[in-house]
Amino acid sequence: MNEHPIVIATQHLSKKYEVPVLKDINLTIHAGEIIGYIGPNGAGKSTTIKILTGIIPEFEGTASVLGFDVRKEPIEVKKRIGYIPENAALYDALTPLEYLHFIGQLYKMETSQIEKKAKELLRIFSLADYDDARMTTFSKGMKQKVLLIAGMMHNPSILFLDEPLSGLDANAVILVKEILTQLKRDGKTIFYSSHIMDVVEKISDRIIVINKGEMIANGTFTELNAQSNNSSLEKIFTELTGNHEHQSVAGEFIDILNN
């Protein structure tokens, strides 16, 4: 039984566009947890995150973050969370300093504080030499680093990360994993969505698997392992999402190559 307060809760959370993308999702997440949120493409992971961060206001069911109703008080939620989106969406006509300055202002941070933090955080991510260069020339990894800083600069209580390691080099990946572990130690909650199973397996306290909009598993790695008798999260994931045919599909692929 987790004694920490509940910071994210949803009840019967559903969302429909032309077809249903989320069906009856019930989440209870406690402060200080790192949640690995995994699922195949189109499973509804990003939609869940966008609802919990107040980006998508229209949904069915209830959702609250840090005690605030996401539908009714999205601004209070947004003040307290950090969000790093899946695609490197930033205004790349700006320099990293200009961009971070802008983001800091939206969180009403002091100008001097923004300058100081932005410069130091850029230095830690090895971007100090580029802080005044426009981001149009940046690689995907460099942009991802700026996004990570923009999502955390205001020191949020909860972090929503959608594929945060996308494009990062090996050193940056290790650094981010270490940052997340230390943030958890500081009591921050991390909602981590990714396709990279071994990272999810290593850093998550609890793993939630979603498929075709439905939650199909929820537990620690050990619990999921015990249920399915598989040694790795990758295999558990394959079994849960019903993709057992990788071997035969790979064989078919090779056959086509050979013909």
Binding site: Y17, K78, Y107, R134
Partner: protein, 557 residues
Amino acid sequence: MEKFILTFLDLLRPLFLLAGVDYGQLRSILSIKIKMDNRRQTAVYRKKQNDDSNFAFLFMLVIYTIFSGFIALGIMASPFMLGVTLFFSYLMVMMAVTLVTDFSSILLDTSDNTIILPRPVDSKTLYVARVTHILIYLGQLAISLSILPCVALLYKYGLLLLLPTLLAIILAVAIAVILTNAIYLLIMRFANEQKVKTIINYFQIIMAVVLMGGYQILPRLLGRFDYENYVFEIHWWSYLFPPIWISGSMETMLKLQLDTPHLVFILLSTATPLIAIYATNRWLTPFYNRKLLSMNATGSERNEKSVEIKDSSKSIFNVDKIATWVTASNFEKGSFSFVYKMLGRDHKLKLKIYPSFGFMIVLSFLFIFNSKKDLATAWAELPTTYLNLVLLYIPVMVVQVALREVAFSDDFKASWIYLSAPLQKPGELLLGKVKAVFIKLIVPIYLLISIIILFIWGVSSIDDILIGFINNALITMVIASLADKYLPLSVPSNAKTESGNIARGIFTMFCMAIPGLIHYWLTKFTWPLILVVPFQFLLIYWLVKQYRNTSWMQIKI
């Protein structure tokens, strides 16, 4: 500029606070938006190598102001209704076209949804920021387009016209914006995102041609026009043109004319924007908002639906069939098909190459109507001239631009495939590229020119058309052989060097002139022109052979 606008905005701070807007956040958002406007590539200002300019938008405004100088001269030289109609036509058309070409990227942009929406910015502040940004943009455009004509109007008709002029300008801008917006949303209602982008692309191409062509043609046309004796009459179609409504309304204020036509003009110019706003809000805006939100939520529509490509496998214009006819190896065929398809699909490539077709038309126009004679006489005397030969060689302009531009791409990194392929002679790829440019761009336009020439100069021109066509191929090969050897779409767009442009231009003119002059010289002889064809083919064969043998050492990467 940014500081000036923000200082002006600070004066309005109490109003924003009164409206319940978070002024600090609003100012930050606008500051960033104005900064980005000035760094955005516009249809008028295209970035060059290492260009970190902060003045792209300002540059566009200056160009617009210079253009409006012609309109100011027109106002000074013509009667009231003609001058004012000319001015409002210019103002409204330019507003509409600029909105479509340069501002559409902002209207369709969903990055705000990812960047600003997750931050603690309330919807009212974000909405007011968007509207204010659009107003700032429109305000700057309207000032640059109307400042000189406005001065001319006040100078000619007196300062009493100041208030009516300002009102009329605001009304003209409002009508242009509202109608453009309504048409824009209407297109979005019935076309998918990809089609909207294609339509915008064609608008951008037209815009580039109009600006460059207008700069050449307008002064010449205006020079031939008898302004002073022109009598402005109201016809039935006058009621279809918004610039005439506004001019009519202004005339009412200036001359206190209150007859039926003028009353109708006043009614049309005030009622149309109101009706358009109502109709837009009622039927189009809700759809637009839903569409943007769904684009944001699902990534993008293009992820969901594949772009419709017409099945042309049975058509004679099927690229793979053409490739089989005109190429000699698999690499050449692959390169041909790839470049041929990209020339028809890549929006940025089209935007860089297709305006040269427009310049071609402008240049033809200048050659034909450059004499002091009036248009009708110049047209009637055409068959007695040798201008048909000039027209036959004008497509070379497109070759020069296309061969250069087809090397550049934002997706240049995809060119790794050339380096990883077991390709001994990259010349095969280059040759495929050149053939694709020639067949996709030159052959159709040459056919069109041939039809025009046959129509004006008669069937006797047929040998000129044949010789000209082979010469066009020859010139294409010469330009390709002497130009830098870049593989198709393999160089970053911002790595262009502008040095050597003048030399290249002179060289192209030279290439056009020499075969053209020889062609002209040969027409003086009585023996059949057709006799030179074997020599032409021999030259082309030799050039193609050399070009196909281009080695990796000669390739610029």
